[in-house]
C-alpha cells in the first residue's frame, strides 16, 4: 500500500509536526479567511431563507389556499425558489467555501488573488438573487434546477469562472508532487460543473434541442449536478475530514482509486432512470438504470474505505462534532444510493415514478449526505479561520439531533407517502383524487419534520453568527459535544 509512495498520512496531524509546519498551516488558514467566510456567511443566509421557504412550500402543499391569491407567492413559484436557493445559494456556496479551504490546505500554498474569489462570491450571490426574483416574477424556465432565467444564469457562470480559474491557479502553485484523494474529487467537481452547466444552458436555451430531448437534457443535468458537483465535493470532504479528525490514514488507497473512477464513470450516466417509460428510446432509460445499479461499486468501495478507516474509532463520534456530522453524511451516501437503485428498478418505478418518493431521494442526496458533510466541515474550518472555538457544545448537539431526526422523519414520510400514493395511483378502480388524499397525511408529517430542520438551522445560524462576531470561546481546546472523560481520549477535534 505504501509502496505507491502516497503520503497517506498527509491529512493526519503528525505527532512529530514541527513548529514550521504548524505555522505554515496557520498562514494558509489565515490567507483563506476572508473569501471562505464570505462564502460561508452567504451560504448560511441563503440556508435560512431556503428553510423558511421550505416550510411555506410544505404547508401550502396540504393547505392550498394559504396566500394563494398573490401571484409571486403561488406554490408553483415558491417551490422552485426554495429548490434553487438551497441548490445554488446554500449547497453550492457552502460547498465552494469548503472546497477552497481544502484546496489551499492540500496544495500547501497560501491563497493567492483572494479578490478573485471575493468577486466570484459577490457575482454568485447576485446571480442567485436575480434568479430568485426572476422566478418570483414569473420568468421561470420550467426545467428542474435550471429554472433561473438566462440573465441570472449568465451571472452565475461568470461568478463560477472566477472561482474555477482561482482553483486552477491554486493547483498550478501547489507544493509537493502528491495529489491527495480529496483533490481528485475537488478537481473533478471544479472541472465538471462548468461543462455541465454550459451544456445544460446551451442545449436548452441557446440552441435548444428538439422536443423530449429537452427533458432528457434537463434530467441529465439535474442528476449530474447532484452526483458530479455536490456528490464529488461531499465525498472529497469526507475523505479529508474523517482521517484528519481521528488522526489515522485512509484505509486503502487502491479502494479509493476504484471508488473515484467508478464513481466518475457510472454516476455520470444516471439521470434518465427518472424518466422511466417516458416518451424516450428505451435504451436511454435502461442505460441509466444499469448505471444506477453500477453506482453500487463506488458506494461499496467508498463505504468500506470509510468504515475501515473508522474501525475502532467510532466512539470518537461522541466528542467531535465534525466527525459526527461527517460520518452521518457518509453513511447517508450509502442510504441515498441504495434508495436510488431501489426506486429506479422498473418494477418499483412503476409505482413511485410520479410520487413524493423522488422528493425523498433528492433530499437524501442533498441534505442527509451533502449538507451534513458540509456542516461537519464548517464545524472544523470556521474555528481555524476565526481563531475562536464554537461557543456551546450543547447547541451543536441540538443542531445535530434536530437535523438527523428532521431529515430521517422527512425521508420516511416521503418514501412511505410516495409508495402509498403510487399504489393508489396504479389502481385504476380508485379515483385519482384518492391517490392525492392518501399522501396528504404524510405531507403533514413532512411539514413537522420541516419544523425540526428549521429549528436546527436557526440554531446553527445563531451559533455561526456568534462565531462571526468574535464571540466564540478563546481556547486551545476545541469544543466537544460531550466532556472528554478522564481516560484521556486523545481527540483532535
Amino acid at each position: 500500500m505504501n509502496s505507491t509512495g502516497i503520503p497517506l498520512k498527509e491529512p493526519a496531524i503528525s505527532a512529530a509536526a514541527g513548529d514550521t509546519e504548524q505555522l505554515e498551516r496557520a498562514l494558509i488558514d489565515a490567507s483563506t479567511r476572508v473569501p471562505v467566510l464570505i462564502f460561508y456567511t452567504s451560504a448560511v443566509a441563503w440556508l435560512i431563507l431556503g428553510t423558511l421557504l421550505a416550510g411555506f412550500v410544505s404547508f401550502k402543499l396540504h393547505t392550498p389556499d394559504l396566500l394563494s391569491d398573490i401571484g409571486f407567492l403561488t406554490w408553483g413559484r415558491v417551490r422552485p425558489v426554495h429548490m434553487n436557493v438551497m441548490v445554488y445559494g446554500w449547497a453550492s456556496m457552502a460547498g465552494m467555501g469548503t472546497a477552497i479551504w481544502l484546496m489551499a490546505r492540500l496544495c500547501r500554498t497560501v491563497l493567492r488573488y483572494p479578490l478573485l474569489l471575493v468577486a466570484g462570491a459577490g457575482f454568485w450571490n447576485l446571480g442567485v438573487f436575480l434568479g430568485v426574483c426572476g422566478i418570483l416574477l414569473g420568468d421561470s424556465t420550467g426545467y428542474q434546477w435550471l429554472e433561473f432565467p438566462s440573465y441570472a444564469a449568465i451571472i452565475l457562470f461568470v461568478a463560477y469562472t472566477l472561482v474555477a480559474s482561482w482553483a486552477v491557479l491554486m493547483f498550478r502553485f501547489r507544493r509537493g508532487e502528491q495529489i491527495y484523494i480529496t483533490q481528485w474529487y475537488l478537481l473533478g467537481a471544479f472541472l465538471w460543473f462548468p461543462w455541465l452547466y454550459a451544456a445544460g444552458q446551451l442545449m436548452l436555451f441557446v440552441v435548444p434541442v428538439q422536443g423530449v430531448l429537452q427533458a432528457a437534457v434537463g434530467w441529465w443535468y439535474a442528476n449530474n449536478l447532484l452526483f458530479l458537483w455536490f456528490g464529488a465535493i461531499g465525498l472529497g470532504t469526507a475523505y479529508y475530514m474523517i482521517p484528519k479528525v481521528i488522526g489515522r490514514p485512509v484505509y486503502s488507497y487502491h479502494l479509493a482509486t476504484i471508488g473515484f473512477w467508478s464513481y466518475a464513470l457510472f454516476s455520470s450516466w444516471t439521470g434518465m432512470q427518472r424518466l422511466v417509460d417516458g416518451p424516450f428510446p428505451a435504451w436511454m432509460v435502461t442505460a441509466s438504470i444499469a448505471a444506477t445499479i453500477l453506482t453500487l461499486i463506488p458506494v461499496a468501495t467508498v463505504g468500506l474505505n470509510h468504515h475501515m478507516t473508522m474501525q475502532g474509532y467510532f466512539p470518537l463520534m461522541r466528542y467531535s462534532p465534525t466527525l459526527r456530522f461527517t460520518v452521518f453524511g457518509a453513511m447517508s451516501y450509502t442510504v441515498f444510493s441504495l434508495v436510488g437503485v431501489l426506486i429506479s428498478l422498473r418494477s418499483v418505478a412503476r409505482y413511485v415514478n410520479f410520487t413524493q418518493a423522488s422528493i425523498a431521494y433528492s433530499h437524501l442526496g442533498l441534505y442527509a449526505f451533502f449538507t451534513m458533510v458540509i456542516f461537519g466541515s464548517m464545524y472544523y474550518i470556521v474555528p481555524r479561520l476565526i481563531g475562536r472555538e464554537w461557543r456551546y457544545g450543547s447547541l451543536i448537539k441540538l443542531h445535530f439531533w434536530a437535523s438527523a431526526y428532521g431529515i430521517g422523519l422527512m425521508t420516511l414520510m416521503l418514501l412511505a407517502g410516495g409508495l402509498t400514493q403510487g399504489a393508489s395511483m396504479e389502481n385504476p378502480s380508485l379515483a385519482f383524487s384518492e391517490s392525492v388524499e392518501s399522501v396528504l397525511p404524510y405531507l403533514r408529517g413532512r411539514s413537522l419534520s420541516g419544523i425540526l430542520l428549521m429549528v436546527s438551522h436557526f440554531i446553527f445560524a445563531y451559533h455561526f453568527g456568534l462565531m462571526l462576531f468574535g464571540l466564540g470561546r478563546k481556547s486551545t481546546v476545541p469544543t466537544f459535544l460531550n466532556p472528554v472523560e478522564a481516560e484521556g481520549a486523545e481527540v483532535a477535534h
Partner: protein, 329 residues
Amino acid sequence: MKGLAPLFLGIFGTFAFSWVGLTLIPNWQIGHLNPQSDEEGTDIYPMPQSGMVTRGARVYAANGCNYCHSEQVRAEYSGADIERKWGDRRSAPRDYIFERPVLLGKMRMGQDLANIGARAPKEEESPSPTGGASPAPQGAAASPSAVASAKAASSPPATSPSPATAPATSPGAIASKPPASPGPAGPPPSKSPAAAAAASPAASPRPSAPPWPEQTAGLPPMYSAAWHHVHLYSPRSINFDSNMPSYRFLYETRRITDARSSDALQLTGSDAPREGWEIVPTYDAKCLVAYMMALNQSHPLKEVRSTGASAAASPAASPPPAPGGQPAK
C-alpha cells in the same frame, strides 16, 4: 496518484462519455423528427403551435404547473395511465416536437394533462375566446356524481346569457334525472387543431355526449375553456377535495360598464362577484387555457399502437370512470 495528465484525462473522458452517450447520441437518434402525414400530405400531426399556445406554455411553466401535473402517458404495461383514460396510447417523442419548453413533469399531485385538450367537449377544442358565453349544453348528460347534484340543488344557475341552442332545462330537473348512459361516441380520433377550429362552436347541436361525466348545474361543461377558467379561479367550487391552489391573480375583477363581458366567469356561490361586477381572465389566463386546450395526443402515430382502436369505441365499452373521472385537481 502521480502525474496530472491521467487525472485530467480521466476527469475529462468520463464526463465526455456521459455527455456524448446521453445527450448527443439521442439527439442524433430522435433530435430531428418531422411531423407525420398520410400519403397525400394531409392530416399532418403534430402541427406547430399558435402564438397564444406558446405563450400559454410559458405561463404554465412560470407558475410551476409542471411540479404537480405530468404531460406524458406511459404504455399500458408500465402504469395505469391508459386505464385511467389519460390517453389512448402512450406518448411518443414525435408528440412533443413543437413544444417548448417540454414539460413532461415528474409528479402527479394532479392529473396527467397530456390529453386534457382531447377531453374537452367537441366544440370547445379550439382555444375559444368566448370564455363564459359558450353555450352550456345542459341537457346532454347529467353528472352521476353527487357533488354536482348537490350543487344543482343548492345554487341557482349563473346569470350567464346562455343562448338557447341546447335543450334548456332547469337545474333542478337535471339533478333529479337519472344519470344518462354514457354516450356512444367520444372525441373522434382525428382532431388536428385546424379541423377543430373549423368546427363551429355554437351552431351544430352536440352530436353525442362525451364519455366522461359532465358538470351541469350552473357550471360550464367539463374541460371546456370556460370550465378551466372557473377551475383555475376556484378549484374547490368544482371539486371540493381538490388540492390545487387557486390562481386568482390571473383574473381581474372589474365593474361592468355597459354590458357583461362575454369572457366573464360563470361563478356561483361565495365566489360570485358582487352585483355590478364581473371577473374576467387576463390575457395570460386565456393563453394558459388555450395551451391546455391544445394539449392533445389523441392523433394516432405510426410508431405507437393505440389501445382503444378508435376513441369512439372505447368509451362505449367501459362505463365512465365514476368519481375517478372527477375534475382535475
